[in-house]
Amino acid sequence: MDIINPTVVDLSRFQFALTALYHFMFVPLTLGLTFMLAAMETVYVVTGRKIYKEMAQFWGKLFGINFAIGVATGLTMEFEFGTNWSMYSRFFGDMFGTPLAIEGLMAFFMESTFVGLMFFGWDRLSKQAHLAITYLVALGSNLSALWILIANASMNVPEGGHFDPETMRMQFDSFVHVIFNPDAQSKFVHTSVAGYVSAALFVMGISAFYLLRGQHKQFAARSFRMAALFGIISTVAVITLGDVLGRMDYEKQPTKIAAIEGLWHTSKPPYEPWILAALPDDAKQENHFEIGVPFVLTPLIAHDFNTPITGLHELEDAAGPRIQSGIEAVSALRRYGETHQQADLDIFRAHEEDMGYGFLATRHAPNQDVTNISAEALPKVIEETKPDILPNVFVTFWAFRLMVFLALYFFALFAISSYVSLKNKLERNKLLLRLCLWSIPLPILATEFGWITAEAGRQPWTVFNKLPTFLSSSTHSVSYMVFSLAGFTLLYSIFIAAELYLMFKFARLGPEAHDAPHDDATQHPHLTAVSSTPSAAH
C-alpha cells in the first residue's frame, strides 16, 4: 500500500487553509483596533475630552466581539498540527513548537489577562493606569502575531536549526537566529501594519455610515479623522514591507517569486515588463495572454536594471542535479538508520543540503521508496520530479495581484479621505463616504490574498527545501478528513453568522452614551462641556 494518499493530503491542506483563512478574518482587526483604541485613549488622557473616552469604549466593544469569536478559532490550527500534520510535527516540531509555545504562554496570556482589565477597568482604574492597560493589550496581541510569524518564517526560510540524522528531525540551535530571521522580521511588520489598515478602514467605514445618516456626527468625524491618518501611514508601511518581502522571496524562494510574476522564462532586463494581468496555464507552463508595463519587473524585484530574474523553466532544469543529490542523501540516511555505518553518514553529509529534493522524489519512486530507484530508472524519476518543485502559478499570480491592486486602492482611498477630513468637507462627499462604507471588508480580503500568496507560493514544501507537503500529513482515512472538514465548515459558518449579526447590531446602535444630548443642533457639547472641566471628565 502507498504511504501517501493524495486525497488525504489535499483534504488536510484544504482543511488547514479553511481554518487559517477563517481565523485570519478576525486577526487583522485585533492587531489594528487595539492600537487605534490606544490612540483614542491617549487623546482622551492628554486632552481630558470625554468624547475620546466614548470613542475608545465604543470601538472597544466592537473589538471585544471580534476578539471573543476570533480567538477561539486560532486554537483549532494548533491542534491541527498534531492531528492532521503529525509527520510535519515529528520532523519540524522542535523548531516550530518553541515560538508557538512562547506565543501561548507569553503573548496570548498577556493579551487575555489585560483584555479583561481593559473592558472592566474603566471605573476602577485611574486614567493613566487604564491607558497603560490598553497599550499592553495592543502590545500583547501584536506579540502574539510576532511569535506565530516567527514560527511561519522558520518554515519559509529555515534558520537557527539543523537536521539530526540520529533523531531524524530538525533540531533547534539558535534562538536568536530564529527570532531575528529576516523573513520573520519583514513578515511580522507587513502583517501587523496590514492589521492597522484593516482596523482603520473598519473605523472609517462605520464612521462614514453615521455621517451618511447624519448620526453621531461629532463622534464619527473624530473617528474618521483618526482612522484616515492611521490608515494612510499604515498603507505606506504595508506597501514598503511588501517590497521587502518580495526581495526576501527573490533571494530565498526563487520559485515563489517567479510564480508571483508569472515568469516562465528568465527575464531579459531592462525591458522585461511587469505583468499586470495574464492567464497562467500550469499544465502547459505558459501564459495565454499578457498585459504588462515595460521596464518595471527588474527594478521591482532586483532593485537594479541589469539582473535577470530566473524563470520557472530554468528553475525546474536547475533542480535536476539537486533531485539526484537528494536521492543519494535520503538513500544514505535510510542505510545509516539501519546500520549506523560512518560511510553512510559521510555520504549523507555530502548531500545533506539536497535532502528535501530526495524526499520530493519519493512520490515517483517504486513503492514510494527512493532506495528502490535503479540506475536505469533514475533519469526518469528525476524528470518526473522536476515539475513538482513549482507552486501553482495561477493561484499565486492572481492572489498576489489582487492583494497589490487592493493595497493601491487603499492608498488612494486613505489619501483622499485624509485630505477631505483635514479640510472638514466630509459631509459634502457622499460618494467618498459610501466608498469607505463598502470598502470595510476589502482589507480583510487583501490579507487573505496575502496569505494565499505566501503559502501557495511556498509549495510543494511545508519546510522550504527540507520537507515536502505530501510527506507532512497524517495517515488519516478520507472519511475521517471529510467528516472533520464538514464539522469545521458547519461550526465556523455559525461563528461567522454570530459575528456578523453582533457587529451589525452594535454598529447600527452606535455609541449609546453619546446619543442623547448632542447631535447636531448643539455645537459639539462634549468639547465645550468637558474641556472646561477636565478633572470631571473621567
Binding site: F180, Q185, F230
Partner: protein, 63 residues
C-alpha cells in the same frame, strides 16, 4: 520624590537606548515597527486634536 522619578526616567532612558542599539542592529524591521507604530498613533492623535481646534474655531461646525 523627584529624585526617584528622575532616577526612574534615567533607567527607562538607558533601557530604551540599549533596546534601540540591540534591536536596531539585530532586527531593523522590528525597530522600525516600534518607531512606526508610535508615529502612527501620534499622528492619528494629532489629527484628532487638530479637528477639535478646527471645530472650536469653525462657525458652521461642518465636518
Amino acid at each position: 520624590m523627584s529624585l526617584f522619578r528622575m532616577a526612574g526616567l534615567a533607567i527607562v532612558l538607558v533601557v530604551s537606548l540599549l533596546f534601540a542599539v540591540f534591536v536596531g542592529d539585530q532586527g531593523p524591521w522590528y525597530f522600525a515597527w516600534v518607531i512606526g507604530t508610535v508615529m502612527i498613533i501620534l499622528i492619528s492623535g494629532a489629527g484628532a486634536i487638530l479637528l477639535d481646534s478646527q471645530l472650536d474655531s469653525s462657525p458652521d461646525n461642518e465636518v
